[in-house]
Amino acid sequence: MTTHSETGSVFQSRKFGDFAPIKESLISRRLNASFILAPLAMKLVEDGVPIRIVYLGHRDGTTLMVGKDSPIREFTDLRGKTVAIPNRFSNQSLLMHRMMKRWGMGPDSIKLIEVPPPEHPTALSAGSVDGYIVGEPFAALSEIKGFGRPLYYTKDMWPNFISCVLVVRKEMIDEERALVQELVDGIAKSGKWLDQGLEHRMDAAQIVGKHVNFQDPKLLEFVLSKPPDRVKYSNLAPLQADFEEIMDLAIEVGILKRRLAFEEYVDTSFVAPVERLDWGFDQLPRPTAAEVGK
């Protein structure tokens, strides 16, 4: 893959297996930017960590899964069951509480346990949980492997659901504004390109699966196409109304102690009109043989 952008800046992605080490790396300044769960970002700000949400990673893209042959057919069937969530400070956890409230169920009527996202499918197949709610592709993985069934997509439970957001440390925002702007513009352009058509999504599945995430491209093709609105990459500007709803739920559930002002945890100054942004190519650039061998 190219190691630097058109303007010469270098953006390096660093893969993690759970959100806890990302949080620690952000606190200790070993990381200056990361995609993390929206409520976790709010919690870090409440705890005094100088970060700001500058953009969203995607919308929707989370699925509530149950066993393929499970008798669970609707949300109320989960009463008394155990469901895995990615983190206590996740929007998936808040969504479960939102749904319990909507269906008139008590806050403890479903046992929610924290499991790192990559381990969700294994927990279901081993029978440790009755269901799990997580971001893709770990939901689709159990569907493809034949032991999981989607109970609800977030688009059906909480349309335009926000899971991961891009946070940047305040020092970077103040000292490297152009670099952060370049990153946000790049994400906006990539989202626009992905939502231009299914062929772009299939191309991304190949490149990301083989060279970035090292996941089966077929799994990513499935996630990005069945159905195509399972995960969306448009409308990624952080909107106050969306975050106010998350804030209300977080306070109600007790993961946040006080109401934060929107400006305390979000910086919207990097959001540019997406019409002006475009990558200007149809297929993703392929890595050279030398880059593949690295």
């Binding site: 190691t3 630097h4 010469g8 800046s9 270098v10 953006f11 390096q12 992605s13 660093r14 893969k15 993690f16 297996g17 759970d18 959100f19 990302i22 790396s25 952000l26 990381l31 200056n32 930017a33 990361s34 995609f35 993390i36 990673g57 995607h58 893209g61 989370t62 990615p86 996202p117 990559p118 997580v134 971001g135 893709e136 592709p137 770990f138 899971s163 991961c164 891009l166 970077m172 490297e176 152009a178 670099l179 952060v180 990153l183 995430n213 090292f214 996941q215 996630v223 995960v231």
Partner: protein
């Protein structure tokens, strides 16, 4: 004749040097070093992520 030998030696040295630079350092690395030499280091930003949507 002497001039031809001299020119040939110079061209050969140049080609071998360029091949050495490309194979052992790489143009990208070299460009970065030159940029750094002139005080224009590449801006680097590392971004953490989970392979999840």
């Amino acid at each position: 004749m002497k001039l031809k030998v001299l020119l040939g030696a110079l061209v050969w040295t140049l080609l071998v040097s360029l091949a050495h630079l490309q194979l052992n350092i790489g143009w990208g690395e070299l460009a970065d070093s030159v940029r750094e030499w002139f005080g224009r280091k590449r801006a680097v930003l590392e971004i953490g992520y989970l392979p999840v949507t």
